[in-house]
Amino acid sequence: MATEWRELYEREYARLLRALVAMGGDSQAAEDSAQEAFVKAHLHGLEGIERPGAWLLVTATRELFRHRRRLRVERERWAQRPAIETSAAFDVAADRADLLSALRQLPERQRAVVVARFYYGLSYEEIARLFVIRSGTVGATLHQALTKLRQLHIAGKLSRGAMR
């Protein structure tokens, strides 16, 4: 029993963590969410989960965004929270980080669908079933997400950088 959980953990943990960091940008929150997802999977029971990797992604994603909402509330209490600045010339060293940064400017659902589609390689049908949205909505969400990335005028340039 413990062996199969270990195998699942060792197979999925790093991938899940990367996906969550990409979506949220906060490595600590990502780790919390990933750990929580595994605990929830254990509570749920492996036999009731058809695709554990995808299940963990969806569960952890919801956990992550829940955590972000809480953080947002807390941060509003910070009196001196600085505004985010941007500086194009500054980002020479971080093409990939900026691509991820652009990703994080998308609405949460779009982020999750993009990661599920391109990083986890899930089909439209699988995404629709796991995230409980209509299949047509998956395509529309993806289209909107990618269009927005282009509209940010960094997607094309940075994607070429990221392919290097």
Partner: protein, 611 residues
């Protein structure tokens, strides 16, 4: 969708996928995961007092709104995942004790000095009253580093940025918990020895992430990747990426299973930093309980490392180590600001109130920390003590073993003390010494004061033959449960002195003091008493697990009763003593045929038949 757009989407998606995959992540090993914890202790609940449970309910309700708002009407995996229960996670429970406030010193900036082969140390200095936003504060702290004169830096540390390449000029850009910092650099960094590049980077990363809410920092120089010596900085770094340890401290809980019975015990605490060994903070909870037996169990306790939410408690720093001890009172409940790196503050909170201990209301010690450096626990007895060791020299620390002595590069005599803390199977820690050619010249094992988790301290005296001088390597390790091979091997380079030890000392025909005359009046008397000599080889396992009386009889060895009621320092004649041993009775086994230390036995009482 046209083919062209679909193709472009595919390229963009691939780029995104590669960007996601390229992110460095710190993978918590399975053993340190919450899942593993749950598998090991499936029924053990995190029992918390009513106050904690109530707070958890409030927190749950607070989060519930956001949770429901986020979920909308989505079923699917969320619908099938279990509903949040009221059994709180440790993190929730630890938010609940009413804190004793310590005035946060947001205007007194902490900047960090470098220490060779150790994490940097923070020092409060200067004034940030002119800064209003995080970017300015980060910039001001980094600029202070440049101007921090070496004579003002704490003893044992240095400021590698003094009069170095960076002369000021900082652009700071913040995104979430990430600070992107561009330094204006006019010439390459001056690095006089190999460890300087890490030292500079540690100072920069620790000082920049001192700002609350900032956990990672991406440094560039003049808009280009930052290069320090041979080190290229090409990614965002957290403190844990540069602190020098091979792995971060366990994010989770270590439990010292005891009894929840209220015993009306009183606890006192002590903290030392850099006293046991450089870079180590040791927090000790001592109970007024001497010895343990079936009718007098030691209390239940646990220690957990959690991230600190700086928006709520900025004074705690980035991490908190939470020590809970049940059924005790500490009448000195206070919040103490220490700022002695890595400890920021210690806060003591009793959920039992000031009157008397209750079984399920722990006293909670919260230790604010600079970083998540490795930590470990140990139990000692008579009196019962709970040790929490934080950090230590990175070169001599493995996941479940830490060696505090001897130090790497130390010159030792042929007989030298090995000490440390281990969480080991059957409390067994093995050691061996290799000479300059790599040949094993002596080996044996020792026993820690407590088995497995939560661990114990160990101390033994190792010896090598007279022929071994000069370069040598001490290896301390645990035996693999799979094949018995060494795991968690810590290699410590040493220099063996050609003189001293048994070889140089005249071997007495009789012990200088008869061990039977104890108790010893002074430590010096005990040191000079040779207590137990064994002639002929001793099987390693026998020495550890077989009655000494039988061994002594088989080998025709004289044995002596040593005083069981005192901590006794027992060594072979001529060997130095450097630290007290926690065992009540302590027996050394010296093979008189070659003078090599065959190990140490540690017990809670006199060994049977020991006369």
């Amino acid at each position: 969708m046209s083919d062209e757009i679909e193709h472009e989407d595919g390229i963009l998606g691939t780029a995104l996928s590669r960007a996601v995959e390229s992110q460095p992540v710190r993978e918590t090993p399975f053993e340190g995961s919450r899942l593993a914890e749950r598998l090991v202790h499936p029924r053990r609940s995190f029992a918390v007092p009513a106050l904690a449970a109530a707070a958890a309910v409030v927190l749950g309700l607070t989060l519930g709104g956001a949770l429901l708002a986020g979920r909308g009407s989505q079923p699917g995996p969320v619908a099938t995942e279990p509903m949040p229960t009221l059994a709180p996670t440790p993190q929730v429970a630890f938010l609940t004790p009413a804190p004793t406030p310590v005035a946060p010193s947001v205007l007194r900036p902490t900047i960090y000095a470098a220490r060779e082969d150790l994490p940097p140390v923070g020092v409060q200095i200067g004034d940030l009253s002119g800064t209003r936003v995080a970017q300015d504060r980060i910039g001001a702290r980094l600029t202070m580093l440049r101007a921090w004169r070496p004579r003002d830096v704490p003893i044992g540390s240095t400021n590698l940025l003094w009069n170095n390449s960076f002369q000021g000029g900082v652009r700071v850009n913040i995104e979430g918990d990430l600070a992107k910092i561009d330094l204006l650099i006019e010439q390459p960094w001056t690095v006089t020895k190999p460890s300087d590049d890490l030292g500079i980077l540690q100072q920069l990363v620790y000082t920049a992430t001192e700002e609350r809410g900032i956990r990672r920092v991406l440094f560039t120089a003049n808009g280009q990747p930052l290069s320090i010596g041979t080190r290229l900085v090409d990614r965002a770094l957290s403190r844990e990426d540069v602190f020098g340890y091979s792995q971060a401290g366990r994010i989770g809980t270590v439990r010292g299973f005891g009894s929840r019975q209220a015993q009306q015990r009183t606890a006192t605490t002590a903290l030392s930093v850099d006293e046991v060994v450089p870079g180590l903070a040791r927090f000790v909870v001592t109970l007024d309980q001497r010895g343990i037996g079936p009718s007098d169990p030691y209390p239940d306790w646990d220690v957990t490392l959690v991230r600190n939410d700086e928006s709520l408690r900025p004074d705690f720093g980035k991490w908190r180590l939470v020590v809970r001890v049940y059924g005790v009172l500490d009448r000195t409940t206070v919040a103490r600001r220490l700022d002695q790196s890595p400890v920021r503050v210690i806060e003591e909170t009793s959920l039992a109130g000031p009157q008397s201990p209750t079984p399920d209301a722990p006293i909670i010690y919260q230790i604010g920390l600079d970083d998540a450096r490795p930590w470990r626990t140990a139990m000692l007895f008579d009196p019962v003590r709970i040790l929490v060791d934080i950090g230590g020299p990175p070169q001599t620390i493995a996941a479940n073993t830490a060696v505090y002595g001897p130090r790497p590069g130390q010159t030792v005599s042929r007989m030298f003390a090995i000490s440390g803390v281990a969480s080991a199977f059957e409390a067994h820690v093995s050691w061996r010494v290799r000479d300059g050619s790599g040949r094993i010249v002596s080996s044996f094992g020792t026993t820690a004061t407590n088995c497995c988790e939560p661990g114990g301290v160990f101390e033994t005296i190792a010896g090598v033959p007279e022929s071994v001088v000069g370069r040598a390597t001490l290896e301390v390790f645990q035996a693999s449960g799979r094949d018995g091979g060494p795991v968690e091997l810590i290699a410590i380079p040493l220099e063996i002195r050609p003189t001293g030890g048994i070889a140089a000392a005249p071997r007495p025909a009789q012990p200088l003091f008869s061990p039977t005359r104890g108790p010893y009046r002074t430590q010096a008397e005990a040191i000079r008493a040779a207590t137990y000599l064994v002639r002929g080889p001793i099987d390693r396992q026998e020495a550890q697990f077989t009655s000494f009386a039988r061994l002594a009889k088989e080998h025709g060895v004289r044995t002596y009763q040593i005083d069981p009621d005192r901590e006794i320092y027992v060594v072979f004649v001529g060997a130095p003593i450097e630290a007290p041993h926690p065992c009540r009775s302590f027996v050394k086994v010296i093979d008189a045929s070659d003078g090599i230390d065959r190990g140490t036995l540690c017990g809670d009482g006199p060994w049977p038949g020991f006369r």
